[in-house]
Subunit: 512 residues, 2 copies
């Protein structure tokens, strides 16, 4: 056992793999070279279209023990991963690692395949629903690996996450493997999270329900990288990309939080021409965006770009001229899909470009402000977005840690209490995003500033914002709902939480 710089105990190794404890958000430096997949060759006249998944498995030489990757641009509307795993199981394949950028409730059928040993490992950036419960309860024989979106891209590009076969759900594809997500009946918009998979997997399979004449354009992922194309009846339901939380909240408490966040931005000095912003797609984040838009109109500020999961509200801000660009790694509603298809100022970007810490510079490095959520935050500003306070897995970082690390000012918005549980803890159950990358906590009861940011504290105080120490806010929350009794955790590690640089920032243990 070794300790991270934040005091968490990390085993020296797990399942035969050496774990490096987290040493600070910007402490790790890369060495070595990028992943180098096998060079391919395709002669003129050779075709790529195959009749079904079984034929694909034969061509790619699918074997037990392999790592299969999937993207999550259909979110809870994805229909591909379940089909692929079911077909692999039918062939008698076992011991698969699933490298899925996210896993949703729709993937409930995978639980049965975990139970039967078809799936023995999961690497993901976000897991919710029955698969999350299965991982929490220790059903997987090996610990799941939780990464950030930027960390997953880095792990693939740097060779730490080796993918044998990438399955790419393609809303449109041509028979020679050019793909995009912006056309077709199941258009889901950006395919950015699948870019590293396509670039570095040993084998790449495009799975589409919309085969188009050659050449399909725009080309998001190109024929250079796609070895095989297969048509299925249905790969996804684009309505599933809309999660329940992509509308501006009407809840007065959330609106109050959003307004406080907007005021914090106004006071920060960042709201000037060229301002850049990433928001989550939660109701409070979107409400904050709406308040920010209002301020930008008033002050005649024109922002440079919006990043993050894109929704119709952000598209409106682009179209109104409040921002000059949207850089889009993922779309959260159909208005966003329309915009990335039609508007040249709305640019699709890949996951490495978005958030990998180990290239010549990712987009989050250029963010002025990120507005993010939290399941828990502690008095050191460490944030948990992976586990509930009882320890159950119910989400993941996604781009949380990435945006926090990159942005000049990272704001966490959270209700001080949620279901009678205080959001501020002495110690979060699981650290996902280190406190050194979190600058401000905004709640309905006031704003706390990370003591490292004396500059912001001064500005906020001058602007007469309701600033309190985070300890003060924690006390307030505890007065409201009492101090939560710590829920003991078991010994067995069911998940490891990898920071974006590849070090281990925490582990998730099974319940006691």
């Amino acid at each position: 056992m070794r300790k991270t710089i934040l005091g968490r105990e990390i085993p020296d190794q797990l399942d035969g793999i050496e774990l490096k404890p987290f040493a600070g958000a910007f402490a790790a430096r890369p060495s070595g070279t990028r992943a180098a997949p096998p060079v391919k060759c395709r002669l003129p006249g050779e075709a790529k279209c195959l009749p079904d998944l079984d034929a694909v498995f034969t061509k790619v030489g699918l074997k037990s023990g392999m790592t299969l990757s999937f993207h999550h641009h259909f979110r809870n509307g994805d229909m591909l991963m379940n089909q692929v795993i079911a077909a692999a199981a039918k062939r008698g394949i076992k011991d698969l690692r699933i490298a899925a950028s996210s896993i949703f409730p729709v993937h409930a059928p995978l639980v049965e395949f975990i139970r039967s040993g078809v799936i023995t490992r999961i690497d993901s950036d976000y897991v919710s629903g029955p698969v999350a419960e299965a991982v929490s309860s220790g059903l997987l024989p090996r610990a799941a690996v939780f990464r950030t979106h930027g960390g997953r891209a880095r792990a693939i590009e740097c060779g730490d996450l080796h993918i044998d076969v990438a399955f790419i759900a393609a809303p449109s594809a041509d028979a020679y493997g050019n793909i995009n997500g912006v056309t077709g009946e199941t258009a889901c918009g950006s395919l950015g999270y699948a870019f590293p998979d396509a670039d570095y997997a040993d084998q790449v399979v495009a799975v589409t329900d919309n085969l188009q004449p050659y050449p399909l354009t725009p080309i998001s992922i190109s024929q250079e990288r796609v070895g095989w194309v297969v048509e299925l009846e249905k790969i996804g339901d684009p309505n599933g990309i809309v999660s329940g939380t992509t509308k501006v909240t009407k809840d007065p408490v959330q609106l109050l939080i959003a307004q406080n966040a907007a005021k914090a931005i106004a006071a920060s000095g960042l709201l000037q021409n060229g301002f850049s912003l990433q928001t989550g797609a939660g109701g409070a984040s979107l409400a904050a965006a709406a308040f920010i838009a209002e301020m930008m109109r008033e002050k005649h500020v024109v922002g440079s770009f919006i990043m993050g999961g894109i929704t119709g509200l952000l598209v409106k801000m682009l179209e109104e001229g409040l921002f000059k660009r949207i850089l889009d790694v993922q779309d959260f509603d159909l208005e966003a899909v329309r915009s990335v298809r039609e508007n040249p100022a709305h640019e699709e970007v890949g996951a490495c470009l978005y958030a990998s810490p180990f290239n010549s510079g990712c987009i989050v490095n250029q963010l002025d402000c990120a507005i993010l959520g939290a399941t828990e935050i502690d008095t050191d500003f460490n944030v948990n977005v992976l586990t509930g306070s009882a320890g159950a897995i119910m989400g993941g970082s996604g781009g949380h840690s990435d945006a926090a690390a990159g942005a000049k000012m990272t704001i966490i918005t959270a209700n001080l209490t949620r279901s009678r549980i205080a959001v501020i803890k002495d110690r979060v159950r699981t650290i996902c995003t280190p406190g050194e990358t979190v600058d401000v906590l905004v709640t309905e009861w006031g704003i706390a500033v990370n003591p490292r940011r004396t500059d912001l504290l001064e500005r906020f105080t001058k602007a007469k914002l309701p600033v309190h120490s985070i300890e003060k806010l924690r006390e307030k929350a505890e007065r409201l709902c009492g101090k939560a009794r710590p829920i003991p955790e078991g010994e067995r590690i069911v998940g490891i939480v990898e920071y974006r640089d590849g070090t281990i920032i925490d582990v998730v243990r099974a319940r006691a």
Copy 2:
């Protein structure tokens, strides 16, 4: 010495590098993995803009013996390569290898740097003007390496051509290294030939005369790969991209050849919906394209895509609806630049995607027809586009061998005699494109079909095209201008001609 399958003698090794003799256009198969450049890291807040080339050299650690790469999208209007080499020479740098996708007369100042030992090696796909003369005369201490556009991309992607520092002339760039060629006063259109350099060079420098606010879009080459940005007063003259040969010829002989080429396409059976075409930018090629357009209108044929160097004439065919897409690796006039900027059906593609034989399938593999030129062609249909019949270097393959290898039908258009020299030889001086990938020769005196293509011979005969054996056409030419006396060549090898797969198809020797 070993012999290629075409009988050319190739030394076992040259300058310490083992040479593999050409064994057939589709004989070589890749092994190994893609090039793996060092992983980078850029922390938030770190800037990339540097004041001048000297500061760039310091940052990238420029040293004697390095390989510097350049793209040729400005063609004879390029102003970057001369500036970079002059600045390097000023620092006392020696023994550089110049990996330039093409070299033009405008690069005449490099000759002095060859003479003084600043430049000792040249790898290029096309060299004309004073640098070509210098190479021919043996001024370089090591043999120049001539590749095809697809072969250069392959060599970079597969690690055979290792680039220390790529200098990318960027008509527009932002301060964090996003680049495109479609905006700005010096817009040159597609930057496709620079894509592999950006992806695989150890260090990437964007040099621009048009620094734009972050984030620049569209992003052709992204900040992920660009380490440094420097602004110079001028990087290129976009008028220089227009070579003298991008207008439809008015020469009656050339028009006759073009018409014969169009008739051959009509007779081939390929001119159906979905037809795809690559033409050179020479006057006869363009005239052929105009005749093809006429036939497509008459027959109500809608083609799938046009590839190759793009001109306004091809843009008009897209806009008229004769073709559905242009896939664009390079623009040859300002109309093409406008189109790739404005028309979503006109897509920029990189050199690997265009033509590398060693990936999951390049675009030339999807060509129905390629119409290409020739300096010489022999009775085995081998084509020389590199040296004049006296042996002087005056061009190079560019995409010639790539398109020929990929297309279902490759047509060479050539005047039977040129400056009183017969274009058809018993044996071309230098083999660039092997005869097995050339199907048809079209001249003003008739059409010759490669005997391998009995299917085409039958179709052309049935269509009453003026078909002759290539030997017959050669005799005709020799009757017109006499048999050329073979011009002896010296011993010393001044250039090696690498086929797209990395094998050596021929060598260029200094004059006797």
